[in-house]
């Protein structure tokens, strides 16, 4: 299964979220759906209600940013490393 690693910021909202989770799925969207089942409400932090990746969030698969920010259709394979990150922004 792909291994998904999260920015620590998300643990503020989901305190039991592990730093890295094994998640079943063949696309980034499927991974997100599975995470939303484990942690209800999780997906809404990463995508808006149209399914689009939020502006200041990024997802990397195999160290490359995903191509499809609109529907997260980028494919993932067993063992792939996926990162969910936030922009370093603010003040």
């Amino acid at each position: 299964m792909p291994l998904v690693t999260f920015t620590r910021h998300l643990q503020r909202f989901f305190p039991t979220l592990k730093e890295t989770e094994e998640v079943a799925g063949t696309t980034v969207r499927e991974l997100l759906d599975e995470l939303d089942r484990r942690y209800p409400g999780f997906a809404a932090y990463v995508v808006d209600e149209t399914g689009r990746l939020r502006r200041h969030v990024n997802v990397f698969v195999r160290e490359e940013p995903i191509c499809d920010r609109e529907s997260l259709a980028d494919r993932v394979a067993p063992g792939d490393k996926v990162h969910v990150l936030q922009a370093l922004s603010g003040g």
Binding site: A44, Y45, V46, D48, E49, T50, R52, R54, V57, Q86
Partner: protein, 393 residues
């Protein structure tokens, strides 16, 4: 008179209590997270905070124990298929595209800008004004929220865009306040409920004007008669106005006040007709917030800025202006407020009045309280985060 103040700031929710004759801040809640608006439901005291998290999206939190603990409320989400007509960003490059075909964008919540609580005749009903220009209502105290479709599909916005392309001209312009959220869209920042009948409410839109429903949101009409719009070719156009905030006198709800981009306006007949009551010779004209007295319909407060072009204090000094005669004249008050090197701006939700108390917060993190109807001021905090809203609880 309330002994509790609720502040939405760039770094969290701050609650001030008056105990032993002194106002004191509690430890900050939602530390490090931006909050766009915070207010107390006057019916049963639930506190609400509109989270404005740039990374993880807007969300609502509430406290049913006076701020001791907070819980997530349901997220507000636009229904599938909700669209809006894309606006031109008002810069020269974008304006070159003028005349292009109408284009559409899918709607997603950018920000909850304001909450408006219904009266005791509608328990559990709360309205939320948002970017990109949707009014949402909950009937169950925030368990679920529903987009008001008659207003979203209003003919002034191109009609029912769920059903197809626009069937009428879009009269709703974007607000620069939306630019930080990535698009030039309209925003609903004022929701004013008539205390006599919660089915009668007003919403104010930047940039469109004031709209009104008398049937609980089934039908909506513009009420901008008498408004003057100095930045358009036709100042008396029915749409295109930029109300910065609208307030109502609870004791006489037909009296409304409006701080607009183009001056201060008031209405004595439930927004049937507005009248400009600015007094530029005492610098009462441009600004963002306005507060209505809860008893005396002829009294209101503003915190003016120099001008549209120069959104700064006048001469580096901060003052509050009050009218006690329905806007015929304004008195200015400076006692206790900084009078030099002051660069504070007061946002549209950052002024409130309750009884003899008037309070405002600023973008530079200063919080000022008056307990004598605005005549003298005391600073309650100099090093607070930028303040987005101030509301007595």
């Amino acid at each position: 008179m309330s002994d509790c103040l609720l502040l939405a700031t760039k770094k969290g929710t701050l609650i001030f209590d008056k105990t032993g004759g002194r106002w004191k801040a509690r430890p900050i809640t939602h530390a490090g997270m931006a909050v766009s608006y915070a207010a107390s439901d006057p019916r049963e005291g639930t506190l609400w905070a509109c989270m404005d998290n740039a990374h993880w999206g807007p969300a609502l939190m509430r406290s049913r124990d006076a701020g001791a603990t907070w819980e997530d409320a349901s997220r507000i989400i636009y229904p599938k298929g909700a669209r809006y007509i894309e606006q031109l960003i008002p810069d020269p490059k974008a304006m070159e595209e003028a005349g292009r075909p109408v284009t559409y964008k899918p709607a997603a919540l950018m920000k909850v800008w304001v909450l408006g609580f219904a009266g005791n005749d509608q328990p559990g009903v709360i309205h939320a004004g948002t970017l990109p220009g949707g009014l949402f209502t909950t009937h169950d105290g925030g368990e679920s929220w529903e987009l008001n479709l008659p207003l979203w599909n209003h003919e002034s916005r191109g009609g029912d865009l769920f059903a197809g392309d626009a069937t009428s001209k879009n009269e709703w312009g974007g607000t620069p306040a939306a630019m930080a959220y990535g698009d030039f869209v309209p925003g609903i920042h004022s929701v004013v409920v008539d205390p006599r009948d919660s089915n009668h409410l007003y919403a104010a839109v930047s940039c469109a004007g004031v709209v009104e429903t008398r049937d609980g949101g089934k039908t909506w009409a513009a009420c901008n008669r008498g408004m003057l719009n100095d930045y358009l070719p036709d100042p008396e156009a029915p749409w295109g106005h930029d109300p910065h905030f609208v307030a109502l006198c609870p004791a006489r709800p037909d009296r409304l006040w409006q701080q607009n981009h183009s001056g201060v306006f008031t209405s004595e007949d439930g927004a049937g007709r507005w009248k400009r009551v600015s007094q530029p010779d005492v610098a009462v004209h441009f600004g963002f917030p306005i507060a209505a007295d809860d008893q005396d319909e002829k009294t209101a407060w503003v915190v003016p800025l120099r001008s549209d072009q120069e959104r700064m204090t006048l001469g580096g000094g901060l003052f509050v202006a009050r009218t006690s005669d329905g806007g015929l004249s304004w008195q200015t008050f400076r006692e206790g407020l900084p009078q030099e090197h002051c660069y504070d701006v007061i946002y549209r939700h950052a002024l409130d009045a309750r009884g003899d108390r008037v309070c405002f917060g600023t973008t530079t993190g200063n919080l000022y309280m008056s307990e004598d109807r605005g005549e003298s001021w005391r600073c309650l905090g100099n090093h607070l985060p930028p303040i987005h809203s101030v509301r007595f609880a």
